[in-house]
Symmetry: C2
């Protein structure tokens, strides 16, 4: 159940474009909070709040050295979410594959019985 | 921009456990609305509302034949979301790889200069 709550939180956190932009920036390397905030047209406090949401759901971690707080992605933070999406797509594709096989077999059977009939006619 | 709005909506839609459960069920094959609703402790109207959210963001489509409405996953519905997550993880892993290479090179340089010094001492 805990795992599901974590996925809920990750999906909710990433539904917000600013938070996704922060994750996009951090996937290219760690950054200080002030550097992260610069491109956004919002107060530092607002960016810090977004960072808190990302930290609470385990997507980001931060560390304060002296007066600078540096943020980085949690290496496994996106894993649960990636696994969930990948499993859905795999199941769906496997189903399409077997549907394809059934259709191919049906077409082959149809072709065989059709050829047999034609053979008898000769 | 449109692509980003779509990803926003998908993340928001999937932050809800019932909607994720519906997607999980549909990844195993199409289902009638009444069959989809059965396992949930909620009214059919509530399930229909969840289905509407999933349809609006392009994750599910439905078709009514006679009196039965059948729902199925949109084959590419999860693609945008899967791509976004995969790209973040790839960038992060690539960065870890290059960090690993830098560390390995530094260790090798250190080893070489250390061996040289020892050679000179002999």
């Amino acid at each position: 159940m805990l795992k599901y709550v974590a996925i809920d939180d990750s999906f909710r956190a990433l539904a917000e474009p600013t938070r996704r932009a922060i994750i996009e920036r951090l996937s290219r390397g760690p950054a200080a909070v002030s550097d992260l905030a610069r491109p956004f047209d919002m107060t530092l406090a607002a960016v810090v709040q977004h960072l808190q949401v990302l930290q609470e759901c385990g997507l980001v971690r931060s560390e304060k050295i002296g007066r600078v707080r540096t943020c980085r992605l949690e290496p496994d933070g996106l894993k649960g979410l990636a696994d969930w999406v990948a499993e859905r797509r795999m199941l769906m594709e496997r189903r399409f594959d077997s549907l394809g096989e059934i259709l191919a077999e049906t077409a082959q059977e149809h072709h065989k019985s059709h050829t047999k009939k034609q053979g008898k006619r000769k």
